[in-house]
Point group: none
Chain length 536, copies 2
């Protein structure tokens, strides 16, 4: 059976730019367009040439190879010809292959926001489509507020869509601009547009927003009703609650039978394996923390806490996972925690290269120790390196590289002789290595930073092994109310090769908890590197 083609339209660079806090530079737009192009997206909407200098510069050359490079624009205003309309001029002067013009399709907005007659708006749609087509570009119309407009004045909304189609638009996109439409209504309205109005589904697109948390469902409901173009963004960025998230939609289209058996897209199964990486690179570019719970690509998307599912999962993963994590470039995680069973525990250890027999009595005491420490506030599931160190220490395989015999942090604020406020944070650390005592002092921005610097300043013969590590994330969580509460510190460390590991410390004293996590991180690094040297 031949499959029908579904077209993917990415508007990260245009509607995604409406996200509070997002403002792409031209270079960032080039990078993102390249990723989308290589991934197999059909249309990359790059912005609105003529509206601002960044977008005009971006459209001065074609930025994609395979994908259609698409310019956003507005349908021409009333009382002016398409060729003289300043809003269309930038679009038509750009190096775009295609133009997607927004047209109002809610009668109320035509009257109030455009201030023209309903008939004039229809004429503007027709003439704008014709002008784009005459310029040799593919023409598309975004019917703004289509679903709300349909509810308010069905005939007029449909007339707008029909005008665009009959004037030659390759695609007429039905937009849920305010994002409040329910999937059941999307489906019924799209079916009406196809069945009664006669616009074929392979000329219709859907543009959904996530204001009720259903942008993905609305997009897929529209596909089930017949549309063949889906507009969305990377990681669901966009105005308000965001646009439909293509990173969630694409794997469903490729991996879920009911879609995969009917449709094909420009994204191959092989390219799909790059999805998790694409999502993460985009977050990196935005300097955002990735959402661990993101469908398909989140760090937790295939994670299971030890519990009722974990032991069975390990036996037969395909009956506990809706898709294979590798198909989207993600991985399975079974985490150690509170309710962990013995077999999970052994599994967790063996994945870290720690072999222990099921009847080894140290295994039971280690499990008891982990439970006891988790009751105190430790959370080993997110602190793999500390878990490994705890296990290895308990099993007696970690040498004492060095001892910190004492440390002291001083934080001081005072007014100096000329009346300036002086803040000072200083740390002193005494370390004993092979019977020799070393003392280091450092200043820092705050006591934790000072302690971190002092601790890693001189570890004697080990110094060369830790010179390239740096602390890249530091999280503090208070486990009960009040300043006397227990503090949990998690530290993420990175080395020169880009490896990351996380360690944890718990104490009623934030400095102590930080110190513990730092020590685990350094000892973990030394242990791993010395083992690697031995193996080499």
């Amino acid at each position: 059976m031949t499959k029908e083609r579904l077209y993917l339209f990415d508007t990260t660079l245009r509607d995604g730019q409406q996200t509070p806090g997002i403002d792409f530079s031209t270079e960032e737009k080039q990078q993102i367009a390249q990723w989308l192009d290589e991934f197999g997206i059909d249309y990359v909407e790059g912005g609105y040439p003529g509206a601002n200098p960044t977008d005009t510069a971006f459209f001065a050359k074609r930025q994609t190879n395979r994908a259609r490079f698409t310019a956003f624009g507005m349908t021409k205003r009333a009382g002016i010809s398409a060729s003289n309309d300043p809003g269309l001029a930038g679009t038509l002067a750009s190096k775009a292959d295609a133009a997607c013009l927004v047209a109002k399709s809610w009668d109320y907005h035509v009257r109030v926001a455009l201030g023209c007659s309903l008939e004039e708006n229809l004429a503007n749609i027709r003439e704008s489509v014709e002008a784009v087509a005459a310029s040799g570009r593919e023409a598309m119309i975004d019917c703004e507020h289509f679903f709300d407009g349909y509810k308010a004045n069905k005939d007029y909304a449909l007339a707008c869509a029909k005008a665009a189609y009959e004037a030659g638009a390759r695609w007429v996109i039905l937009c849920d601009t305010n994002g409040g439409t329910q999937p059941i209504d999307v489906r019924a309205i799209v079916e009406h547009v196809i069945g009664e109005v006669g616009i074929p589904g392979d000329h219709l697109g859907i543009h959904a927003h996530d204001d009720t948390g259903q942008a993905v469902a609305n997009s897929l409901a529209a596909v089930n009703a017949g549309v063949r173009q889906i507009q969305g963004t990377l990681n669901g960025v966009g105005e308000r609650c965001g646009n439909a998230n293509l990173v969630s939609i694409i794997p469903t289209l490729l991996l879920k039978e009911s879609f995969a058996e009917r449709f094909e897209t420009g994204v191959s199964p092989e390219k799909l394996k790059g999805l998790a990486r694409l999502s993460r690179m985009f977050d990196d570019l935005l300097n955002r923390m990735p959402d661990p719970q993101a469908p398909y690509v989140g760090a937790s998307a295939f994670a299971t806490k030890a519990g009722i599912h974990a032991s069975a999962l390990l036996k037969e993963p395909e009956t506990y996972e809706h898709v294979a994590p590798e198909s989207v470039g993600n991985a399975r995680r079974v985490m150690v925690s509170d309710q962990g069973g013995k077999s999970n525990f052994i599994d967790g250890l063996s994945r870290r290269g720690i072999a222990v027999r099921k009847d080894d009595p140290r295994l039971d005491t280690l499990i008891a120790l982990v439970k006891e420490r988790e009751a105190q506030g430790y959370a080993y599931e997110d602190a793999d390196a500390s878990f490994e160190m705890l296990a290895r220490r308990h099993l007696g395989t970690v040498p004492t590289f060095f001892n910190v015999t004492s440390y002291r942090c001083v934080v001081e604020r005072r007014i100096n002789a000329v009346g300036q406020k002086i803040d000072m944070s200083e740390a002193v650390v005494k370390v004993e290595i092979d019977g020799e005592e070393k003392m280091s002092v450092a200043e820092g921005k705050g006591p934790v930073n000072a302690l971190d610097i002092a601790l890693r300043k001189d570890l004697g013969k080990y110094q060369g092994l830790i010179d390239d590590i740096e602390l890249v994330d530091y999280k503090v969580r208070i486990l009960n109310g009040g300043t006397e509460a227990i503090t949990r510190v998690m530290i993420e460390t990175r080395d020169g090769q880009g490896r990351h590991w996380t360690t944890i410390g718990v104490s009623d004293n934030v400095i102590d908890a930080s110190f513990e996590a730092m020590m685990d991180s350094i000892v973990y690094c030394l242990f791993e590197r010395l083992e690697a040297q031995k193996a080499a």
Copy 2:
């Protein structure tokens, strides 16, 4: 027309606990149960009594007033009677009003994970429901893997649901345990369960997971197909990609006509106005950054950037917003206009009893100052007392009660003469009051606690005004990665009459940030009490 009742079942404390990184203490569970109960949730599933000490302790007393306090459990095993089954014992010994027992309904899992016959599993379901009912509790069955089971062996999945219903279960919950089912299939399968099998919709529930980003849509599709109980969690926490987000579902049920005209829930429109606050309090308790793009409740959910929509939005908001932001306790944000900002700002001040004229030039500089400080990391929305102090100081109405001329914190760890590890945290504070200098010293559990004690030890003539205040919550958030990152500290203070206020400090030094928040709290208290004395 009488409306049908929809029942809301919250599993934040049970399935939500499966979220990587979430481990509630008994106190946290109590707090959350109270919020849910007051908000109008029908069933609060508190955990699995008997499975771990936290849950057993939590179920030692009834934790809700209005809501049914619900225990999770497992259907009994084969070859043992319900009264002797250890997995059921904890549930039946608890103070729960209702019990929700999980039962496998995918034939494959019955054979492999339970290792019993298909018929034995059906008998286990029946006998377990009967045992719960006989204990005087409401019985519910979670049909685990129901949708996947239905696809694999339709008759058996249906037999499980039917066995539960016929044995007297008040609710039979259809679970999409692996989270991969599509809304169109949820709808068709639920319709089949109701129409062909004959279990009435008002005895059916839906339990959806977000693995394809459609947990909300799946839940609502099930409601449209006839189920009348919805299971979900606060902010969509839960295993892997999370459970259905009740914070997104509830406003859709109450505000979207197609649901609101047919259904009523235990949440009143008045309670719904507390939704944004509930969502934020839950994130605060988890020490998570709220998702600005969260449907209905996110900080950006009603935000518009300067662009094609912003100016029209201000004229006629209801045609650009799918619901009114106030209906869920959120607010509109238009991110350019200082016009809209200014009147909101004056509004906020006057609610705090601070009168300022619209053309007062200090108002513009105050707005600029707040913006600048929010860019640095201050979050005044959740720190009312600090906002009030900032505004009053800028408008020149806060006297300088006292000056802290210097402070010093020392944290030390060393080994004493008899080989014991000694941890010491000490703070010294110098305060000037009416030209007289006072010096206080205190030890504490950690530097912040020591500083708090020293600072409030002797404030001279003001001491009597602050003797009854205590620090009840202390939260630290790191705004960027690394130990050199900016630290935001929020402190909640309570006085003898039970009044609470929150203050904030931001610095690259955790001690400094804490000091700033403590100072704001003390000055706020002095100011309010001295004003009250003047007024009296």
